[in-house]
């Protein structure tokens, strides 16, 4: 399958941004949630602009709200509410003080963020692409967001100037390990999806992006997070490196995700078959 770069950028930004907000809300944020909301809004804006470039006729964007059975429509429908909820969080303490309602607004934004990620994950889960025809797709969309989010919370603690709770780093490490294991299982599954479209990610043309994912998405974040215990003076740099590397790893993973998602062949038992993979 062709790599749809705008979608690589948009889904990576969504997962990093929304994962950060959800994790900061659930795990507790050392900086005001309003700041986190603005970071998330910024990443969502970048992702949204990127996804517009994917559309061939972006001026018809508002047609996207037509079919509620489509996960893309569901995603589009959630977007304005999510944006408003994040904006409400972002302006809290600047234009107004929500007081006790801060938690409720944050909760609404977090739930909408999770719903958005679920819709995106489900959108890619389709039978015509054997590599994507698995609940792994949804699980991985959520796990990658969790990985980026937990590492992001570690960065927030360090930016706020405080000591990072060990449990917080442990959760980030655990999320990274679990996510990497799931991704490895997905890669292994791709080798035997049938329909003549099995993919061995360790061989060309997938090899380079596979290595990029292993380095950026698994090795660097784990090493950087681990080194924080040995080199506390460089903790902020290491955590930031882990977060950026994790974001790059998500992008590399998404490229592999697209490259490996070939369409079923009609008659895989014959050497000459349709060669129109789009």
């Amino acid at each position: 399958m062709q790599i749809h770069w705008p979608l690589v950028v948009s889904t990576a930004c969504q997962r990093v941004g929304l994962g950060l907000f959800i994790c900061a809300f659930v795990m507790g944020s050392p900086v005001p949630l309003a700041v986190v909301a603005w970071v998330t809004l910024g990443l969502l804006a970048v992702g949204g602009i990127a996804s517009i470039f994917h559309l061939q006729r972006p001026q018809r964007f508002f047609n996207a709200f037509s079919n509620f059975k489509s996960h893309l429509t569901q995603e589009a429908f959630i977007t304005p509410f999510l944006g408003l909820a994040l904006l409400a969080c972002g302006l809290n303490g600047v234009l107004y003080d929500l007081g006790d309602a801060t938690f409720v607004v944050g909760l609404v934004a977090a739930v909408l963020a999770a719903a958005f990620l679920v819709c995106t994950g489900l959108a890619y889960q389709m039978g015509s692409r054997p590599a994507w025809n698995t609940p792994f797709v949804l699980v991985l969309f959520l796990l990658t967001a969790l990985e980026a989010g937990t590492i992001g919370v570690v960065v927030l603690w360090l930016v706020a100037g405080g000591l990072v709770p060990v449990a917080c780093v442990a959760v980030a490490l655990a999320a990274t390990v679990v996510c990497a294991l799931c991704q490895a299982a997905y890669v292994r599954r791709m080798r035997s999806v049938g329909y003549g479209v099995n993919v061995n990610a360790t061989e060309p043309p997938y090899r380079s992006v596979f290595i990029m994912w292993v380095v950026m998405g698994v090795a660097l974040p784990l090493v950087a997070l681990g080194l924080m215990f040995a080199m506390p003076a460089a903790a902020l740099v290491l955590a930031a490196l882990a977060w950026l590397s994790c974001a790059g790893g998500i992008a590399a993973w998404t490229v592999l995700f697209f490259k490996g998602a070939h369409k079923v062949k009609l008659f895989p038992m014959y050497p000459v078959d349709l060669n129109l993979d789009m």
Binding site: M1, H54, L55, Q56, R57, P58, R60, F61, N63, A64, F65, S66, N67, K69, S70, H71, L72, T73, A76, A123, M126, G127, S128, R129, K263, V264, L266, F267, M269, Y270, P271, V272, D273, L274, L276, M278
Partner: protein, 203 residues
């Protein structure tokens, strides 16, 4: 007495008759003014595999929109540009399509193309304008071997229903496991597709 049952248009393609002449693909482009680089209809050669003379397999496979009864393209289309008529034909409203290509990804049959000129998705329309006039789609009209017949699959007296009934042992739908229930039905070749027949449990 007038029949009250709903029409359901479909097509049968006898792979035993297709010679791969591509006349259908050309006729489709001319009839529907399909742009260069865009195809609503293609004919592929499957094979050859096996050893000459007795185990050699090869056949031609015309491919187009299957006008599924349960089309995944309609489910995923966020704009409702893709829709199904009451008589089962799946169409695309080019004025609504914004070119997200989600339908192209979701279709298991490689039936859809993004037109780089109009920047919308296109596919076979089963020549609905001809069917409404009681004529065959241009691909079927032009076919040199008469391997294609379109018509109302709900009408037991229609030509397509008679062909399907007479060749029940050869009726074959591509990838039925996806649940799309294609309305374009194939008749398996009597010879030259033994591997395919074996894979779907036919002798």
């Amino acid at each position: 007495m007038e029949s009250t049952s709903q029409k359901h248009y479909g097509m049968v393609i006898d792979l035993d008759k297709c010679t791969g002449c591509q006349a259908c693909a050309v006729a489709c482009k001319m009839e529907n003014d399909v742009d260069l680089g865009v195809f609503w209809e293609r004919v592929y050669r499957m094979g050859p595999i096996g050893q000459f003379p007795d185990q050699l397999e090869m056949f031609y496979f015309p491919n187009q929109c299957m006008h599924c009864e349960n089309p995944s393209c309609i489910t995923v289309c966020p704009t409702k540009a893709t829709y199904q008529t009451d008589d089962g034909i799946v169409l695309v409203d080019a004025n609504l399509c914004f070119g997200c290509q989600y339908c192209i990804w979701a279709c298991p049959y490689e039936a859809r193309t993004l037109n780089p000129n109009t920047k919308t998705v296109e596919k076979c329309i089963l020549c609905v304008h001809r069917l409404e006039q009681g004529e065959q789609p241009m691909c079927a009209y032009t076919c040199t071997t008469g391997c294609r017949v379109a018509g109302d699959m709900n009408d037991p007296d229609s030509e397509i229903s008679r062909i399907l009934a007479a060749n029940a042992d050869r009726v074959f739908r591509v990838h039925p496991e996806f649940g799309n229930q294609p309305s374009v039905v194939y008749l398996l070749p009597r010879k030259g597709a033994e591997t395919l027949c074996k894979s779907i449990g036919r002798s």
